[in-house]
């Protein structure tokens, strides 16, 4: 959903009080062919995600790979260190797999969780402290927001769509920033 390179863009940021107005606006914008949309919400809202057509998140791959790496590392670590100094105690096997399941299990969880956090930060594009962003502090309190960018000649259409759904406020952004 990033702005196409080479063409000038302008942006509009509309705030909405009602969830259904927000969802209807997104649906109408997408029906009319405007795909450069960022929606803001004070909490995770499934209707907005559906309206924007989200499916799976690549974070799950991070979790899976992290977990499998942890399991492999856990078993490798315990087995190789036991083999490194083979010391038979009580006639028992040197490599005690059932006992090693526990460190390996804990490392599966540990690596899986660390990879999930790295994955989610990467996919959410944060930390991002530059400050040159489109935002309104009301979005963390109770308002929903829609930021749309389009070529300057289409801004009239965009504005009329945004206005039909009774926004509380519309702010113009002459720069038209990309949708991170």
């Amino acid at each position: 959903m990033s702005a196409a390179t080479g063409t000038a863009r302008e942006g509009l940021l509309a705030s909405y009080e009602y969830l259904d107005s927000t969802v209807d606006t997104i649906t109408e914008l997408r029906e009319k062919g405007f795909e450069e949309i960022t929606a803001f919400a004070p909490f995770p809202e499934h209707h907005i995600e559906h309206a924007l057509g989200y499916h799976h998140s690549p974070v799950r791959l991070f979790t899976l790979v992290g977990g499998l790496t942890g399991a492999a590392a856990g078993f490798a670590f315990t087995v190789f260190t036991s083999m490194d100094w083979p010391l038979v105690t009580g006639g028992k096997p040197i490599v005690a797999i059932p006992a090693y399941v526990i460190p390996a299990f804990e490392m599966t969880i540990l690596f899986g969780a660390l990879a999930t956090v790295i994955g989610v930060l990467y996919n959410m594009r944060i930390p991002d402290l530059k400050g040159d962003v489109v935002y309104d502090p009301d979005f963390s309190s109770g308002k929903f927001g829609i930021y749309v960018t389009a070529p300057p000649e289409q801004m009239g259409t965009v504005r009329s769509i945004l206005e039909t759904h009774e926004p509380t406020q519309i702010q113009t952004d002459p720069k038209g920033r990309s949708h991170g």
Partner: protein, 459 residues
């Protein structure tokens, strides 16, 4: 889009909250006005930390001999309190992860405080292996790395498993806690005055969160995966702690029911501690709208269920000791009930088995003062449970010649009391610095604001 079903007022989780903005106002004001009770409690916890520092300092200077630990009881009040705090830590992840997977909507109001409690309880528990070491400057020996002769630790030892389990638990529960906090810290950032120290702090630790569709999408998924990872972890951690005992051949310890018995006990004590902590927070900060009697009822039911499992385990232990016909087992359990530690055993049975019976009654579950008193008893009872398990078994092992009675010394008591100060110090700082009730997740369970219907029928 599908219109949200309009629920009658009684069926809503928080019937008295009117708007999203109100949630931010109510919760974020907790960060601005501490009030005199907060300062009184903070003073008490700092005094507790002082007592901890003094007692531990005494032990570091004079050696572990200042504790009551000696042959045959090498694990006394320290390991008891370690297990106690690890147990307390369990309800946080249970509430935040397990109840999240089960879609229990009553968790939203309490889970942030419970998660914070988890992190701080593990931090408190983590002090005890260090205290118990005696020579704390050798603490790094706990980590799995080879010694001078390149011999690695024994990964078949439950004590090494414990290092893995507890450090993993601390890391994962902290990550879960901090990730969940990001959107709410952003809300605190947006409401704090620009330029103040607080604003700069919130700005830095909210990582530039804006609540965009992309951020919420990945955040929601990551939260689900972390919950799915934390759920087996929470069950494994107290199982591993129980195997510190159950993998040995000490009479009274060597039983297969220890893992589920300890996990149930951990959740029991943890939920009790959550209630004990939330009752004063609700009162001091006026959170009646957020922590309704329904929330306390749900927590009390969880307490009741796990309490029954624990009581059943106590009875099973006594029955199996008799039924096994082993003289050593029978002697240990006879000693528990009628020997030198009869008082500890009966405190345990009364506080964890008898008193929670009152939770069967709906009137008790809906009475906040009653719950506060009952959970205080449960907290005491659960400390004594670990004391009974650890001390009675060690003092009465296979060799009658070696039997001896352990009594905690003043230093040990000072350390045990002092760590409560340490725990509550972090808890108190937390409720002043970070939003102690999850803003975004409360909003999730409120009915969303919808466009007023054009032709509204007059009611």
């Amino acid at each position: 889009m599908a219109t949200a079903t309009e629920k009658p007022r009684g069926a809503q989780t928080h019937p008295d909250i009117r708007s999203y903005g109100e949630v931010n106002e109510d919760i974020l004001q907790m960060l601005s006005r501490p009030g005199k009770w907060w300062w009184v409690l903070l003073g008490m916890s700092i005094a507790g930390i002082g007592l901890l520092a003094f007692s531990w300092g005494n032990q570091i200077i004079n050696g572990i001999g200042v504790s009551g630990l000696n042959t045959p009881v090498g694990w006394g009040a320290y390991i008891t309190t370690f297990v106690f705090w690890v147990g307390i830590a369990h309800s946080g992840t249970l509430i935040s992860a397990v109840l999240f997977l089960f879609r229990a909507r009553w968790r939203q109001s309490i889970y942030r405080a419970a998660e914070a409690m988890t992190v701080f309880a593990v931090m408190t528990a983590g002090l005890y292996p260090l205290i118990h070491l005696g020579r704390v400057w050798h603490a790094y020996w706990l980590f799995p790395y080879p010694n001078q002769r390149l011999l690695w630790p024994n990964f078949a030892s439950p004590l090494v498993w414990d290092v893995f389990a507890v450090t993993t638990y601390f890391t994962v529960s902290s990550l879960f806690f901090l990730l969940g906090l990001i959107p709410d810290i952003a809300a605190a950032r947006d409401q704090s005055k620009v330029g103040t120290l607080r604003h700069r702090l919130y700005k830095a630790i909210s990582f530039g969160w804006r609540g965009t569709d992309r951020q919420w999408h990945h955040f929601g998924k990551a939260y689900l995966y972390l919950a799915a990872l934390a759920t087996p972890l929470v069950l494994s951690v107290h199982s591993v702690v129980s195997w510190d005992f159950a993998m040995s051949i000490v009479p009274g310890w060597t039983t297969t029911i220890f893992a589920p018995y300890f996990v149930a006990g951990a959740i029991f004590s943890g939920i009790a501690m959550v209630i004990t902590i939330l009752v004063p927070i609700r009162k001091i900060f006026g959170l009646e709208k957020y922590l309704t009697t329904k929330h306390f009822d749900a927590m009390a039911k969880l307490c009741l269920v796990t309490g029954l499992v624990v009581f059943y385990a106590y009875l099973t232990e006594f029955f199996m000791a008799w039924y096994s016909g082993k003289p050593s087992e029978r002697a240990v359990f006879w000693n528990r009930a009628f020997g030198s530690y009869w008082w500890a055993t009966w405190i345990m049975l009364t506080c964890n088995g008898i008193i929670p019976i009152m939770l069967w009654f709906k009137r008790v579950r809906y009475s906040i003062p009653a719950l506060f008193v009952i959970t205080l008893f449960i907290n005491i009872g659960m400390w004594f449970e670990r004391y009974v398990i650890i001390v009675t078994s060690l003092s009465h092992e296979y060799i009658p010649f070696a039997w001896n009675v352990y009594r905690p010394s003043l230093t040990e008591m000072g350390i045990v009391i002092g760590t409560f100060g340490w725990f509550f110090f972090w808890m108190l700082l937390f409720i002043r610095l970070l939003p102690p009730v999850a803003l975004a997740e409360i909003k999730e369970v409120l009915p969303p604001p919808m466009r007023p219907k054009k032709k509204e029928v007059a009611r």
